[in-house]
């Protein structure tokens, strides 16, 4: 299977990417290509031009910026898995990156690509939501920063404008006593999340101070489970409290249903996996 013909441009800098995007309104950015190329081979996508950002030097790498960790958009899952600073401060990323696709996909697929593609069943959007990440994007009018909670708009739709490129994903470093966990029910054939839940908690004096839950796969777009968070914040995180908070997991989701998992089943999985993720995050916080 061949993709439809396209013009190919290999960008060497971020300003060049923006310029090429303006010159080619029907163009698409190519990073690792592990979502885009399969779609192009099936002719579900037929961009007139591909702007390859795979060799733009400033876009790759993981930087410890003191109170945050800055990940370049073309950093691969394998790069993330190798990073000690990620494993120590943001083990949620390591845990989730290890269950994305397979070795070959993790070698090529990029964090920025996962964010910008916004597949409703991708793992990393849930992680970005739970870790309160923000997206640095650059366009013709300069750069802006979009919080993850506003970035994922709908199925395959983000807050990025067509002439903007995502350059960095910025993760604040957790402060105080915190715990993180990712729980995924993977589709047995594709490996994508039927439901994936990323949980982040901080504890203060035995009570939940901050709690963020990101859910992917269940709905049309990855979302924070606000009702769960409200129910658990300020509480002592007993098994009972976690269970009753997790019961709200499907609230506010526009549920997906397909031949493999109905809307009702996905709602059930969202509740069960939210409970598991929160329990593990709390246990991790307690050490």
């Amino acid at each position: 299977m061949y993709p439809a013909a396209f013009e190919y441009y290999r960008a060497t800098s971020v300003p060049e990417v923006v310029q090429l995007l303006q010159q080619h309104p029907d163009g698409k950015i190519l990073a690792g290509g592990h979502s885009l190329l399969p779609m192009m081979k099936l002719r579900l996508a037929e961009p007139a031009a591909l702007i390859d950002i795979g060799r733009v030097p400033d876009l790759n790498g993981i930087q410890d910026a003191g109170d945050s960790i800055v990940v370049g958009a073309t950093t691969t899952y394998w790069n993330l898995l190798q990073s000690d600073v990620i494993r120590q401060s943001l083990p949620l990323i390591t845990e989730a990156a290890n269950v994305v696709g397979d070795i070959q996909v993790r070698n090529r697929g990029t964090l920025g690509g996962a964010m910008a593609h916004a597949d409703p069943a991708a793992d990393m959007p849930a992680v970005a939501l739970a870790l309160d990440a923000s997206m640095k994007v650059v366009g013709p009018n300069g750069e802006r920063t979009i919080p993850a909670s506003e970035f994922f708009v709908d199925m395959f739709t983000t807050a990025l404008s067509p002439d903007e490129v995502l350059t960095q994903i910025i993760f604040p470093k957790p402060q105080g006593t915190s715990g993180q966990a990712y729980e995924k029910f993977a589709h047995p054939a594709s490996g994508y999340a039927v439901v994936g839940v990323a949980a982040f908690v901080t504890l203060d004096g035995g009570k939940v101070q901050t709690v963020r839950v990101g859910i992917t796969g269940a709905g049309t777009v990855a979302k924070r489970a606000s009702a769960v968070e409200q129910a658990l914040a300020g509480q002592e995180p007993t098994e009972q409290a976690i269970e009753s908070a997790a019961a709200h997991a499907a609230e506010g989701l526009e549920l997906n249903g397909d031949i493999f998992a109905s809307e009702e089943y996905r709602a059930h999985l969202a509740r069960v996996f939210t409970q598991r993720a929160l329990s593990r995050a709390v246990a991790a916080a307690r050490g």
Partner: protein, 164 residues
């Protein structure tokens, strides 16, 4: 418009003019005539087309040839040295790790990456490592044994080299 690429495959440098939409797997098979790399599903699932690109296993049906410009690539044809099978090839032979053989080149190239990153994997780690490679014949048992055989042999060789 065609683009010029230069790629080193199994130690030999090639320069070619390719259409941007040409997939790396077709470049290897149809331009360089290296047909050991197989096209299985063509939808990025089965891993039969796996090759090593710049040290890492990739599905060559999901990489454009233009993306491989400047890359070092190893295919199944590049593993045997001086008429000696690579330990992975020997392992698949000795442990009966194949039946029809269609998935085998991809299995071996993925296992090559796996053993590079983790020379002493557990059975579970081998199975997790093979998630991107499908086999319709063997049920995977002997593939896992073949990779264990190769891991043992390669660790032995590394220890012997270290002791010299």
């Amino acid at each position: 418009m065609k683009q010029q690429i230069t790629v080193t495959v199994n130690g030999v440098q090639y320069t070619s003019e390719v259409e941007p939409r040409l997939l790396l797997v077709h470049y290897l098979r149809d331009v360089l005539n290296l047909t050991g790399t197989h096209v299985g599903c063509d939808t990025s699932q089965c891993g039969a087309c796996t090759v090593i690109m710049n040290g890492s296993a990739v599905k060559s049906c999901t990489v454009l040839a233009v993306q491989a410009d400047g890359a070092e690539i190893t295919t199944i044809e590049g593993l045997a040295k001086d008429g000696q099978l690579h330990p992975l090839q020997e392992g698949f032979w000795e442990m009966h790790g194949l039946q029809c053989g269609f998935c085998t080149p991809g299995m071996i190239m993925t296992a090559y990456d796996l053993l590079q990153k983790n020379p002493n994997p557990t059975e579970e780690e081998i199975r997790h490592g093979l998630e991107g490679n499908l086999c319709r014949c063997t049920g995977y048992q002997n593939i896992v044994r073949s990779i264990q055989y190769a891991a043992d042999k390669m660790r032995g060789a590394a220890a012997a080299a270290g002791g010299e």
